[in-house]
């Protein structure tokens, strides 16, 4: 079956139309995306501006930058991490924070000298330095294919794997300590002396422990031993017999292009340099800069000052994912929408983006993303980016925006300023927009759509009512029942009024026609009686009438009698309802009555016509006036007889159904025009063509009107069925069973 919109009911159509309201959340969603984009853009601008202004503030105080040794060339510095937790000297690294991001790899770049081509697999180390409570801590996680300890009786401190600690004290005196154990375990530093034996320095203590692929040294030394400069060097000896130094790596300097040097087998050039001449500066997060940053701090921002070596030198601010706006107490409609919001939460979750309200640990390490920004900043460019950060307390990813700007001291770029902000507040705002759109859309859909739907229902119901009224206004047997017009004055009300008026006019016409019969009967009867009484007197006056005259008088009287019969028929029809009210009802056997009527009435009255009747063996009782039922059938039989084709039978039948009794009279004859089928039961309507009245019976089209009236009086109905292919007309009367067999 083909789908057609026009076939759907009005109600369904309007329902579909109301679905358009669902576009609202989609539009809202798009709008929120747009808002978010715009917000991010402006946020990006302000973040960059912020970063640049922080850089400008710091640049205006070069003395601070100098004091804090923010130079591009302090690459040899030892970065002193501020430790927040105690460190236990146990050669276990689990108490060191953020090793992954903060620890420095001492490998090719830090190679001070080597007797062989550098082999990373053979020797490298991970290193980190930190400060806590007047102590400096350091660990070296050394990967070494062969560990060579100091000989049991050897006084040579530098003929085995060992760690050198180079210190410049507050007086500017350089000292070198060596940690060169004979076996793993607790170790101390020994002050190196070019000319004499090393003396033990118990302030420098630590643990040396072997690990699977090398060893771990974790040491501690008092802060007061050191001025501003410190360096470490790791010496690798792999041949126990020759005890030749294979590699020296140190923290002091990045030896650029050293790899290339070794490739050219030219490592002898640097072989001589086997000790550190100048230890690097100690650099640590700057409290001075930090305090400056504090004054610039804004809520929900984190400012990072990063030096040229990508070390964080100062931070300020806490990144919190919590949205800034406070929760307002809801009133009135807001409360409803809040309640609705709770109900709709699962729906919101489909459309909104989750964000963490985690507070990010402070200080946080630099991510690779920030590092990119820092690198760009160090070349003098501003940059902006977003990345996901997963180090929140709850472990949820947090989206961060980072703006980086170069930090200049004079004309030299000495570092970078990074300003970070979570996007949570923007996402929160976007989510709120989405939520509100959804809420509004659902409100609109429920109330607007509901109202629309109810209105559609109302309209549709009214139209249906008119349609029903119109359909039932004219019964199948042609009776007109006026309808009550709707009281409302809109188009549908007008339509209803028009329809009611039409029906009333039609009814008054029908009534007039029916009444006309009554009036006509009375008006005609009076002169007719005058004629007949005159004729009779005339006949009596002329005692000895000539034959001719007598014949004329007889003919006239016959005509008068016929006219009177006609008038009687009209009277029968017009007073029928009155007669019906006075009917003498009784229970009688309809099947027996049919047989009596057929034998003694119709067969006698219509001698030339063949009647076919199938007797019913079952007793069919009916409560009614037999005279009335006979009258009803009489009219149908008369009708059938006068229309049947000669030599075809008139079939009369009686059937008992579940709830009704069906009477039918059927004949072969001309088919009733379809347009007349609903009307023939009305008074004075006949399908008889003019001049077809061969018999001497009057035909006024009252018979079927009588049939209808009687059938309706008994709560039944009458209808006609035409079968044009068989030229068969059947009149069917359905009467409800009104008495039981008992």
């Amino acid at each position: 079956m083909r789908f057609s919109f026009s076939k759907i009911s009005l109600r369904t159509k309007l329902f579909f139309i109301s679905l358009i309201l669902l576009v609202i959340p989609v539009v809202g969603f798009q709008l929120s995306e747009q808002i978010k984009r715009d917000l991010l853009q402006s946020e990006e601008q302000s973040l960059l501006f912020f970063a640049r202004s922080v850089a400008a503030v710091l640049a205006s105080q070069p003395e601070i930058l100098n004091r804090e040794r923010l130079h591009p060339d302090v690459s040899s510095a030892v970065y002193m991490l501020r430790l927040h937790h105690p460190i236990r000297l146990n050669a276990k690294l689990d108490d060191w924070p953020e090793i992954d991001s903060m620890a420095e790899m001492l490998a090719a770049e830090h190679l001070l000298s080597g007797s062989q081509e550098y082999d990373f697999q053979s020797f490298h180390a991970l290193h980190m330095t930190g400060e806590r409570d007047k102590y400096i801590y350091a660990f070296f996680k050394v990967t070494d294919d062969t560990i060579v300890y100091r000989g049991a009786n050897s006084l040579w401190m530098d003929r085995s794997d060992h760690l050198q600690v180079h210190i410049e004290d507050s007086n500017g005196v350089l000292r070198q300590y060596q940690i060169s154990p004979r076996q793993p375990g607790w170790v101390n530093g020994y002050l190196y002396d070019d000319f004499g034996p090393a003396t033990i320095e118990r302030n420098i203590q630590g643990v040396w422990k072997e690990s699977g692929d090398g060893y771990i040294v974790e040491i501690r030394l008092p802060r007061e031993m050191i001025g501003n400069k410190l360096a470490f060097a790791l010496v690798d000896v792999d041949d126990e017999n020759s005890r030749e130094i294979k590699y020296i790596v140190d923290t002091s300097k990045k030896h650029k292009n050293s790899k290339n040097n070794y490739k050219n087998n030219d490592f002898k050039n640097i072989k001589n340099i086997n000790t550190i001449q100048d230890p690097g500066w100690i650099i640590s997060p700057s409290t001075t800069i930090q305090s400056i940053l504090k004054t610039l701090e804004r809520p929900n921002f984190r400012i990072l000052i990063i030096d040229a070596n990508s070390r964080i030198r100062a931070t300020a601010g806490v990144l919190s994912g919590a949205s800034l706006e406070e929760k307002r107490p809801a009133k009135g409609i807001l409360r409803v929408s809040q309640y609705l919001g709770k109900l709709l939460a699962p729906l919101y979750r489909i459309f909104t983006k989750p964000f963490s309200e985690d507070t990010i640990n402070n200080p946080a390490p630099l991510s690779s993303f920030s590092l990119d920004g820092v690198k760009k900043a160090l070349t003098g460019e501003n940059s902006f980016g977003r990345y996901m950060h997963t180090s929140g307390k709850k472990g949820d990813p947090v989206e961060l925006m980072v703006a980086t700007a170069p930090l200049k001291n004079g004309k030299t770029i000495v570092g970078a300023v990074a300003v970070e902000q979570t996007t949570s507040s923007i996402v929160a705002m976007q989510n709120r927009v989405i939520e509100e759109t959804i809420t509004v859309a659902i409100f609109l859909f429920i109330f607007g759509g509901g109202a629309l739907f109810l209105f559609a229902f109302y309209l549709s119901a009214r139209i249906r009512k008119i349609s029903r009224d119109a359909a039932s206004a004219i019964t199948s047997s042609g009776q007109i029942c006026p309808i009550t017009p709707m009281s409302s004055g809109d188009e549908i009300g007008e339509l209803s009024c028009t329809l009611a008026n039409m029906l009333n006019q039609l009814k008054s016409q029908t009534d007039f026609r029916e009444k006309m019969a009554d009036n006509l009967e009375h008006e005609i009867r009076t002169p007719l009686i005058g004629i007949s009484s005159s004729l009779k007197n005339l006949a009596r006056e002329l005692e000895k009438q000539p034959v001719d005259v007598r014949r004329y008088i007889e003919w006239s009287l016959t005509s008068v009698a016929r006219l009177e019969a006609l008038l009687s028929d009209i009277r029968d029809a017009t007073t029928l309802q009155e007669m019906l009210d006075g009917d003498q009802k009784e229970i009688f056997s309809l099947n027996k009555a049919m047989e009596v009527w057929l034998t003694h009435h119709w067969r006698e009255a219509f001698i030339d016509t063949t009647f076919v009747y199938e007797p019913v063996s079952q007793e069919i009782l009916f409560y009614g006036d037999p005279l009335r039922i006979l009258q009803l059938l009489d009219k149908l039989v008369e009708n059938a007889v006068s229309f049947h084709f000669p030599k075809t039978p008139v079939v009369i039948g009686l059937k008992k159904k579940e709830k009704s009794i069906s009477l039918f009279v059927s004949n072969n004859g001309p088919v009733i025009p379809e347009k007349l089928q609903g009307q023939i039961f009305n008074s004075m309507v006949s399908s008889r063509s003019k001049g077809s009245g061969k018999d001497d019976k009057p035909h006024l089209g009252l018979g079927l009107f009588i049939v209808r009236t009687i059938a309706q009086e008994y709560g039944g109905s009458v209808r006609v069925e035409s079968m044009p292919e068989k030229s068969q007309i059947t009149f069917l009367v359905e009467l409800p069973i009104n008495c039981s067999d008992e």
């Binding site: 009686i529 007197n537 009687s568 009277r571 007073t575 007669m579 006979l630």
Partner: protein, 231 residues
């Protein structure tokens, strides 16, 4: 001395014709065209019988008014309504006002009119005479005194109109036999519709039931006619 019949009929032709028909039978006919003429004369001198049309000129129910006035003047005078108004309600109203009979106007009833008038005069005459055995038909609890046109059911008299009497007589003359509508009309010297016969029968039954609520002797024969059921 010929009996005087007062005829009140507004249609000139009919009035003249009816007068002629009745005069031919030997009656003296005083005819009037409207109610006022008639009542003016009635107040001075009463006729022996009155035949009234119902619609009299402008008065739609002038005949009924006249009937009421006439009944006040005399309780016993026979009054017949002869009218084109052939309906149950008119018939009921007329008979309730004390008319002896109600005839719808048609050519057949016109022929029967002299018979009817004669019968009514005979009833008036015989009312003073004692009922004689030879003229009585007894069927069960029913006694019909033919000459007086009097009927008793369970020894109580029934007040029947002439038409009703004739119809009942037709049924009880041959008890148990079905009388068709046409046969009944013939017997009642009238030409009316089947429906009107049914109405008459209904009224007869009602009158019986006033005496005997269990009355059930007049049977409908599948709507084709009636019979008097013999127990």
């Amino acid at each position: 001395m010929p009996q005087i019949i007062a005829l009140v009929e507004d249609d000139d032709t009919q009035r003249a014709n009816y007068t002629k028909i009745l005069e031919r039978e030997g009656y003296t006919v005083h005819s009037y065209g409207n109610r006022l003429q008639a009542i003016a004369v009635f107040q001075k001198e009463l006729p022996d019988m009155a035949i009234l049309d119902i619609m009299l000129e402008e008065e739609l129910e002038g005949g009924f008014t006249l009937c009421t006035q006439l009944r006040q003047l005399s309780a016993s005078i026979p009054i017949i309504f002869l009218t084109a108004r052939d309906s149950d309600s008119f018939r009921d109203s007329g008979l309730r006002l004390g008319a002896w009979d109600y005839l719808p106007k048609n050519s057949k009833n016109m022929e029967y009119l002299p018979v009817r008038v004669a019968s009514l005069f005979r009833i008036v005459e015989s009312a003073s005479m004692a009922p004689t055995q030879s003229e009585t038909i007894t069927v069960g609890e029913l006694d019909v005194f033919k000459a007086q046109h009097v009927v008793h059911w369970q020894k109580s008299p029934l007040d029947l109109t002439l038409t009703e009497f004739w119809l009942l007589l037709a049924l009880v003359e041959r008890p148990g036999h079905v009388k068709s509508h046409d046969q009944l009309m013939e017997a009642a010297n009238t030409k009316i519709t089947n429906n009107a016969i049914a109405t008459h029968i209904r009224r007869i039954r009602d009158k019986f039931r006033e005496i005997d609520p269990e009355f059930n002797a007049i049977r409908t024969e599948y709507g084709m006619g009636y019979r008097w059921r013999v127990r």
